[in-house]
Each structure stands twice: as structure tokens, then as C-alpha cells.
Symmetry: C2
Subunit: 165 residues, 2 copies
Amino acid sequence: MASSWGISRSMAEVHALLYLSDETLNTDDMMSRLDISRGSASMTLRSLLDWGVISRVHRRGDRKEYFSAEQDVWKLFRTILRERKKREIEPLLDELLICRDLSAMLNPGRKKRKLDPEAARLKALNDRLDNMIEFVEMINSVSNHLMNSSGKGLELAVKLISKAS
Amino acid sequence: MASSWGISRSMAEVHALLYLSDETLNTDDMMSRLDISRGSASMTLRSLLDWGVISRVHRRGDRKEYFSAEQDVWKLFRTILRERKKREIEPLLDELLICRDLSAMLNPGRKKRKLDPEAARLKALNDRLDNMIEFVEMINSVSNHLMNSSGKGLELAVKLISKAS
DNA sequence: GCTGATTTTCAATTCTTTTTGAAAATATTT
DNA sequence: AAATATTTTCAAAAAGAATTGAAAATCAGC
């Protein structure tokens, strides 16, 4: 799955290992269980921390750092959604709005009587950009709702969709 | 966006060009507009056809093949959803079910009185697998509904979610 | 079935991303 | 603050993915 989600193989593996593990694990555990280097383990754990899907755990009487993964799949879902919105949807929307501004600038003012073909082309381009923007804004809005609804609210929302076939 | 969606840059560019273009375009158009090789254009167009987001158009009196992109963003959304379900969700679910079978096999039969720690570990592993499977099955089910609902039904469903905050 | 136009294929190459490993930095204990 | 344990960093190496270009395959009309 890793590659189609845009994360590296070791990130997926480390997370899976932590998610399925009962105990917290330290860097050396990852290295031996998954056969990866110390550097790789360190960077991978850091990325997972940045995504907010794992957390550090300190054990008294032990200098090493241990890690554990979020166990609630709904919470995990919301965390990933929040992060993808920030990293993907919002920047995309920003770019699209810039494009629309550019395109609107080129577009001739309110309707000329005889619609010359070039104006029509620009109008069509504008419309397509608008459709795409409207769609991404909708995705953005749904993300907001799913992301903030509580675990139960989320499951409910999802059941609503299932009903509205 | 391309990399975080697991498609190549040229695929994204070719699709964007076709989506925003008024006219249908042929391979040579792609090559000159996007400055890519013939081979690359050919493979990229093929992938987009496989995804079902563009289609071939034959013009009478012209031997070249032309292409056009789906213009309806909701339809595009459903097409991509259908394809991702097939390529990602279903294979993932298959793997997860295999994992659960394996895990269930290792798991000791109905409750021993004194729960030895090893059995508890296995039980916990099983539960986590089950949670994940349940979640992916839910995603699968939502995909089915979104994918099959008509354009209007989809927009409606999405508005339902927005309401159920 | 021949000819010329067009598209596809794929080994070699280029470009990108990921991983390694050892040095540097940081933290902990005595 | 020295000694030791642990984590982080990052240049270099390896692995992986995308692209090229030219040969091979396909196709359309004669």
C-alpha cells in the first residue's frame, strides 16, 4: 500500500509494527524486527511523529525512548485526514485560486455582443477552473466536518451516506 | 500534487492540459505543449485511458488519434474512486483477511480460565486486526455508495455530512 | 499485400527518493 | 564536568521510478 499512499515502505512497516504491537517499542526493536538502519529508523519515527500517528513514551529507569501507535482507528483516520488537508488540499486550493485570478484577468469584461472564438475559449477555461475549485472546496468542507466530528459523529455521518444511496 | 497522489508528473500534466483544453488534442500536441517524448506521451495517455479519465476521439479524414478528458468533476471523482477501490482498497482488504485468518489460526480456542500472557497478546493482536478490517470494510461500503450514486445523489450525500457536524 | 503514417514497446538512461552509516549533537548518570 | 548512552543529521550509495528514443508493431488506404 505504501507507494500508492505516497509514504515510504519503512514508514508503513514501522507504523504497522507499532499498531499491531502490544508493548511500546524502541529504535533498536524497529531496527532488528524490520531490518533497517539506525538512521532510517530515526527518520521514519520522526515522520510518523510529524504525522501525529505515533507518540513518544518514556519509561522510568530506562534511557531509551519508546514509541506507541494510536490504537483507535477512527481517531487515526481523523488525524490523517487533518494532516492531508493541511499538506495537500489547502495548498492545492491556494494554487487553483491563483490560477483562477490569472485566468479572470485575461478574460474580457462583461459580454461582447458577437462572442469571438477566443473569448469563448477563455470563458470555457474559466468555467472549468471554477468547477474544479468548487469541487475542491466541497472536499475541503467535508474534511472539516469529518475531522472535527467525534468518533461517534463520524460513524453516524458515514452511515448517513450509506442510507442515501 | 502528482507525487502525493502516486501518479507521475506527466500524467498529472497531460490530464490537466486535456481537462482545461477546449479542443481534443493528439500525441504531438502533448509532446510540444509539455515538452515530453513520444514514448512518454504514449505511455501516459495509455495510463489515463486505463484509469478511465480520458477517452480516444477519432476525427474523420485524420489518421491521428485525438483525446479528450471527462469534464464533469463529479463523474471524474466517481471514476477515480471506482478505480482506487479496485486497485487499493480491495487488495488491501484481501490481505487483511488473510492476516486475520493466520492470526485466528494461532489464537487458542475459546477462553482458558487463567489467561496466560501469550494468549492475551494474541487476543489483542486479533482485536486490532479486526478493528482495522472493520474500518476498511466501512470505507469500502462508503465507496460503493458514493461511486454508484448519481451526480445529484453524491452532492446530496456530501451535504448530509456537512449537516451532521 | 505494399506503402507510408502512426502508435507502442522496451532497454538504456536520467531523475528522484530512500536508505545507510558514521560523525556530530544531545541527553543522562556518576 | 567527564564519561557514557542515545538520538539526530547528512553526504554518499543504493534502490526505485520515470523518461527517452529508436526499433518494432500496428493500422489505413490503395
